[in-house]
Amino acid sequence: MREFLLRRLLQVVPTVLGLLVLIFVVSRVMPGDPVRLALGPEATRQQIAAYEEKLGLDRPLPSQFGHYVAGLLRGDLGESIRTYRDVRLDIRDFLPATVELVTVALVIAVCLGVPFGIVAAMYPNTWIDNLSRLVAVPGVALPRFWVGILLQVGLAYQLGLFPIVGRAVRAPQTITGLYLLDATLTGDGGALLDAVRHLALPALTLALPTLAQVARLTRAAMIDVLKRPFMLVHAAYGVPPRRLVWRYGLRNGLTSVLTLVGMTYGALIENAFLVEVVFSWPGLSAYGAAAVLAKDFNAVVGVTLVVGLSFVLANVLVDLLYGYVDPRIRHN
């Protein structure tokens, strides 16, 4: 298992290096002049030249790349031209809100989607299976920013069940920056309830299309597994049906579900951009979207880097889980 883990982690190195090159290319080589954008239209030729020298933009590209990577290794992402703060500090402040949102959405999507898919696969062509298909087909077609707006208007404005925007009225004492966790750790019941009520709609919006997709793919995977001969053998040995499905069937169907969860994570991160904007959620994605509009290159690079890295790591994690679920992969 340890060798498998090491091998998998080594494979990440070229991808991460490539990611750095890609982001560097997007931020430095693409048209659009970061210096002119940073200094504004009034800057003189000398000022531009001086600023280019300061940023190292007058040097050849390979040397610039070295400079950029060296900066990253020191944790230096440069200053934001929008917030006038270190991008690193901005990311540190905004990241926990996104992590909380995406994690809760993932938990909702998996914990509801997988059982739903399994039950639909156990009773194909019954009402519950038809219901799952009826929800799954339109579910994946929902634009999340639109779902968010509908839920916001319906449940928050009209019925007043949830707060309309924001993350909390009263934030709990900061330990991790994850409000649910912090409120629980400090035993602050009021703040916990407040955080849950604020989180409910954004998390649901983010989770809904993914839930539909998870249910649909789990159903397909399980239908495939339930037909295999070993299931018949176990049934012939008298393994009770429920145990048969949840124990023997699920473990074999789980690899395809895990692949999906890995892909889902990427979908959730990118859709967080939309959901955070709709609900004014003070997260990294909303920060990144604002940075793009303001042409705040250092911030854009920082956010893209964090999103890319976390996506790569999520995929590694999924592969490691494969190894855990399916010993054949571990030894191959």
Partner: protein, 301 residues
């Protein structure tokens, strides 16, 4: 030149007797299922809207920057089915014209993605194992490691926000998916007997690649492209919603939702109706894509 190659061109990897009936069979399979029919109908309507929006929209001039303050912010009714926006433009007409914007984006993005992805995948798969192929596949790995919306957003930061930038940005993130797909298909095909046969007959690589392998790669590419249409529509409208895609007065669905959002909750129709259009369009292409995949029997996701 009546070489064996021209014979195999007519029978690309399919059983000879099966070939003439094949299109008819998949078309029939496509039309039998009500969901596939629904998908086909929606897509046909959208294409109709995109080709001749002027004929279908009751107020074609509202697609542009026109202003009618006398009928501003009216709720949906018989005169304006989807209501009017804050300057009195008919939202139904703008939604009809929006189909053209969305489909133009789709055609541009998938055109570029297929145009770059298919040749690069063919070459990388056929000369698999040599360093340019390996390097190219590493490059696609990197692209696939960033969620497309995040990458497209970062790319648009370098450009002026408009429809063209959104097209470029999405295309930039999209081609590696096709490279990977074609690469995998070619790897599977290049060992097949008919390729070996062509090689044994002394065919040049170029001929084998384009006459023997390419025709067999087309149907997964078509299915992927169809399934991708809905993702591209969603991505394009998401970029517009975030303000880095198509801009006012372009009747883009995502931009309309974003603009309508500022008039919530009172004038709910301004953002609900264009959002509904995105939903219906995406669902239509999804249904058609699923149906095509089943009918052409390519692969299960």
């Amino acid at each position: 030149m009546s070489t064996p190659a021209s014979v195999t061109t007519e029978l690309p990897g399919v059983l000879a007797g099966d070939r003439p009936r094949r299109p008819a069979r998949w078309v029939r399979r496509l039309l039998r299922n009500p969901l596939s029919m629904a998908g086909t109908t929606i897509v046909a309507l959208l294409v109709g809207c995109a080709l001749a929006p002027g004929l279908l929209a009751p107020f074609p001039e509202d697609a542009g920057p026109s202003v009618h303050f006398d009928r501003a912010a009216q709720p949906p009714g018989p005169a304006h089915w989807f209501g009017t926006d804050e300057v009195g433009r008919d939202i139904f007409s703008r939604t009809v014209f929006g189909a053209r914007v969305s489909l133009a984006l789709v055609v541009a993005v998938l055109g570029i993605a297929v145009g770059v992805g298919v040749p690069s995948g063919l070459v990388a798969g056929y000369w698999h194992g040599r360093w340019p192929s390996t390097a190219l596949m590493r490059v696609t790995d990197v692209f696939l490691a960033v969620p497309p919306l995040a990458l497209a957003l970062a790319v648009t930061a370098a450009f002026r926000p408009d429809l063209g930038s959104a097209m470029l940005a999405i295309s930039f993130t999209w081609w590696p998916w096709f490279t990977r797909l074609v690469y995998g298909e070619v790897l599977a095909r290049r060992e097949e007997p008919y390729v070996e046969a062509a090689r044994a007959l002394g065919q040049r690589d170029r001929v084998i690649l384009f006459r023997e392998i390419l025709p067999n790669v087309i149907s997964p590419v078509v299915v992927k492209a169809t399934l991708d249409v809905s993702f591209v529509i969603l991505l394009g409208s998401s970029l517009a919603f975030l303000g880095v895609g198509a801009q006012e007065p372009t009747p883009d669905w995502g931009a309309m939702v974003a603009r309508g959002r500022t008039f919530l909750p009172g004038h709910w129709w301004m953002s609900t109706m264009p959002g509904l259009a995105i939903f219906v369009a995406v669902m239509g292409f999804n249904l058609l894509g699923d149906a095509l995949r089943d009918a052409l029997d390519v692969w299960e996701r």
